[in-house]
């Protein structure tokens, strides 16, 4: 048994002990709705990424090779810029709010978004762009520079001081530049030191030269890997020589820089605080010892880097494990770990979809049949549907889940609360575009029923027309007719008089329209036409049997007119109708006991007989003479 209510969902049930024996105690599971979709600033993330997602699904599949890859990389960059924009907004919100709880929440969100961007960026480099040896290092350097920002304030402080070389953190900043491979900036700072300290001019010149000459991979095709390796080997040896000659012995800072250039792990590890993370350490190591590292070799360096950096003092955090999985090219592991750690499906759903478009995910089916990409998209979209307005995004996601998307959509879309007509119209449009006829009928029935209860008969009819629901149209017509019988006049004439072709939707509706027409003709004193119409209503069985008495009673004034309206033929028809009616009812006790009814019948019979008499005479008379 389960019960749900808007705030939280609680599930109860009795769980029996699987080990056998007596049934276990009942447990209450409190299932909480996804809170993230209600955070205001994240809405931008959901909306913008929806646009990018749709663009990706619709993009040209025919593009092959490089242009396709470039396109996919652009999509990845777009996703990342949305994450960053969100981070910025969230940061602004955190700074400007007074509520400490809210501030805490925003700050947490900022760090989560930052971690997401970090992971995504790495995945982009390794999987989407699939950077090859050479450019791979450059990309990783960019990645580190972008994401390790703890040192930014220190850098700014030193750079903006009057004489940077005198600043106590001067050498730290130089080290930061060197560790991040920002040679030009390092050299620039060092030159300031050299001018301030002429004694070390010689040392400086050598170091500067070494840094200038350092071979780096290039993005273009200007050199092959072999060329780079050769150059690098030469340069490495040169550095080695200078170090061993004791050139830098008098200046420990410069010496340590030279050691770093040589890729000395201990020297690099000494600067742990400036690197702050093991992956920074990894990239620095690679820069100075294996700049031509191949993607598949990364895993070894990554593992050892993490071990060296953490050194047994602290254990890896979830983020570290995810990054490690990425370095090991274990895509599925990355996705799995992210799914566990993150509180909603946004990240894994979009990343997996992108990787799927890169044709990187083998479609190993999950145990219930759909593949990983579809599973994640379904989960994400389902989460969206619990939101009062983000559900619209969810529709498009379901559309792109070939196996179960439609079923999920059918189930979810019926449960959207329809609190305004406009919302109902949007839901209907979505259903109609996907030929979901059941859902169309269902929504229209709900809206029509609501309208009927509120006595909005025109609205109710409008909904039944949209669903082509003849049964409901009949219901509405009966309501009108009932109103007429009770009050003696029609309500909502603007509707009945203007039914148009929709009149044909149901027989009852047609009757209603025609009956109203009869009244109009009568009002306009077009008696002959009115009479003909009245008769047709009965003889053509447009009128329901229950209404015949009323129709015949309506015929009375026509029969009583001074001029003869009904012909003999017509009168016979009327009489036949009357007899049919009374014959059918002869068993009914009510009919016999009801004096009013019997009187009516009597009056009708009399009027019909009189009319017949007059018309026979009239028709028998020869005109003229």
């Amino acid at each position: 048994r389960s019960r749900s209510h808007p705030g939280a969902r609680a599930l109860t049930g009795s769980v029996s002990d699987p080990a056998g024996g007596a049934p276990g105690s009942s447990r209450v599971f409190v299932v909480r709705r996804d809170q993230d979709i209600y955070i205001q600033t994240l809405r931008k993330l959901f909306n913008e990424s929806h646009g990018i997602f749709m663009g990706l699904q619709r993009s040209e599949e025919e593009l092959a090779g490089k242009s396709r890859k470039a396109q996919l990389v652009q999509v990845s960059k777009n996703y990342r810029s949305v994450i960053r924009a969100c981070m910025e907004d969230m940061h602004q919100a955190a700074v400007s709010t007074r509520d400490p709880a809210l501030q805490g929440q925003y700050s947490t969100q900022v760090s989560i978004l930052s971690a997401m961007e970090l992971i995504w960026n790495l995945c982009e480099i390794l999987f989407v762009e699939a950077a090859a040896a050479g450019p791979l290092l450059l990309r990783l350097l960019d990645w580190v520079r972008l994401h390790v920002c703890d040192v930014d304030s220190m850098v700014r402080e030193v750079l903006s001081s009057e004489s940077p070389s005198k600043h106590k953190l001067f050498w730290n900043v130089v080290d930061v530049f060197v560790l991040q491979g920002r040679m030009d900036e390092a050299r620039h700072l060092l030159s300031k030191e050299a001018t301030a300290n002429p004694t070390s001019m010689n040392m400086y010149k050598i170091l500067d030269d070494l840094m200038k000459k350092m071979p780096m991979p290039s993005l273009g095709n200007t050199q092959t890997l072999t060329e780079l390796e050769l150059k690098w080997q030469h340069w490495h040896e040169e550095c080695q020589r200078f170090l061993q000659d004791g050139t830098f012995a008098s200046n420990p800072h410069m010496e340590s820089i030279c050691k770093i250039l040589l890729g000395d792990e201990d020297a690099i590890l000494e600067k742990k605080e400036l690197m702050t993370t093991w992956y920074h350490f990894l990239v620095t190591r690679l820069l100075y010892s294996h700049p031509t590292v191949k993607p598949m070799e990364l895993r070894f360096y990554a593992q050892s880097s993490m071990d060296l950096f953490l050194g047994g003092e602290s254990s890896p955090e979830p983020l570290d494990m995810i990054l490690m999985a990425a370095f090991e090219f274990e895509m599925h592991q990355v996705i799995k770990e992210c799914s566990i750690v993150l509180s909603n499906w946004w990240f894994v759903a979009h990343l997996t979809d992108l990787l799927d478009h890169c044709k990187l995910l083998q479609s190993h089916n999950l145990y219930f049949g759909s593949n990983m990409r579809e599973f994640l998209l379904l989960e994400y979209a389902s989460g969206l549907f619990s939101h009062h307005s983000l559900w619209q995004l969810g529709v498009d996601y379901f559309d792109h889940c070939p196996e179960y998307g439609r079923v999920y959509l059918e189930l979810h879309i019926e449960r959207i609360p329809l609190n305004t007509e406009q919302k109902a119209l949007k839901v209907l449009r979505i259903c109609e575009q996907r030929q979901m006829h059941e859902q169309v009928r269902s929504v229209c029935k709900i809206m029509a029923m609501k309208a009927l209860r509120n006595n909005r008969l025109g609205s109710a009819l409008s909904w039944s027309i949209r669903a082509k629901d003849a049964a409901f149209a009949t219901l509405i017509s009966d309501r009108f007719l009932k109103d007429y019988c009770e009050r003696g006049c029609f309500s909502d004439l603007d509707l009945i008089d203007n039914l148009g072709p929709s009149m044909l939707l149901s027989d009852r509706l047609t009757f209603l329209g025609k009956y109203r027409e009869f009244h109009r003709l009568y009002g306009e004193k077009r008696f002959a036409e009115a009479a003909r119409l009245l008769l047709t209503l009965m003889t053509a069985h447009i009128a329901p049997c229950s209404f015949w008495m009323t129709l015949l009673t309506d015929a009375l004034p026509l029969l009583e007119q001074k001029e003869i309206i009904f012909s003999a033929e017509q009168t016979y028809e009327l009489m036949r109708c009357l007899e049919d009616l009374t014959a059918g009812n002869v068993d009914k006790q009510k009919f016999q006991e009801d004096d009013v009814e019997t009187t009516k019948v009597e009056m009708l019979r009399l009027a019909l007989a009189r009319n017949l008499a007059r018309v026979i005479v009239k028709e028998g008379t020869v005109e003229g003479s």
């Binding site: 995004l393 007509e421 119209l425 025109g458 009819l461 409008s462 909502d492 509707l495 203007n498």
Partner: protein
Amino acid sequence: QDNRISLWSAGDLGNAGLNGEYHGEPHLLCDIQHNGDVMDMQFLDQERIVVASSTGTVTIFRHHQNNQTLSASHRWEKAHHHVDQDTSCGGAACTGVVCNNPEIVTVGEDGRINLFRADQKDSVRTIDNADSSTLHAVTFLRTTEILTVNSIGQLKIWDLRQQRNEPSQIFSLAGDRVPLHCVDRHPNQQHIVATGGQDGMLSIWDIRQGTMPVSLLNAHEAEMWEVHFHPSNPDHLFTCSEDGSLWHWDASTNVSEKPSFLHQGGRSTTYLSHSTINQSVVSAWLSNDPTKDRMEITNLIPNQTLSVNSLDVLGSCLVYGTDSEAIYVNRQLFA
């Protein structure tokens, strides 16, 4: 639900560069919480905005320019509701509002028409059950007459001077009674009316003659939510739809040798030129064969995804909002 009324500044005109490009994105000036969905809104005057809510309430918000805040200055609760609260099923949304300071007319899902005055607590006039179906939109035809459209495809004229609760005229589409969602009147020629329907069809009516539209133009693939004549260049019409597109209808190429209205600003210039033109220009919208007369129709949205719910146009500036929770401002409409 956290719905808000927000006031944005769309960029300073003074920042326009050499080629007229504007710099700076729209930025939020102030906002205020709103109860229920915002179904429609309109400026009453420089400082006040009238807002129609899905709860059936109509609110006037005042913008205080000195400290950049919004406050609710007047509220008509339950302006729209279903009669007989006991058996009624849910509330009735107020679907449309139109202002002609100080008068405010609202219509809603309850088929009711309300006439309010900005300074009066109660409604000046209420026509209950004016329509048996939902009224989707309202606009002024003349100062004392309004036009309404409903969900059984009827366009009605109401004369507010008359006390009887009947429309003075009813127009309807031939064929299926497709619901009409929006209506707008030509700024200068009051007999020309445009409506948009649930099937995305644009209908142009001449209310001086007949009860059926003059032209039916197959436009969008889904509900047309809003239609607007450009207030100073009425040969231009704009429509937006659930299908995610926003169309610019340019009937100005219909007629030869007509002076260009476009590159001058200023309402007065356009109005003067209008009155000196002969009759053939004036009936640009009423010509029966738009295809022959080369009406230019452009979709202003390159990558459409979700519905464009609302638009407004003034001068060379176009604003529209989508279901992707984004507002777009185009300040170079006729460039």
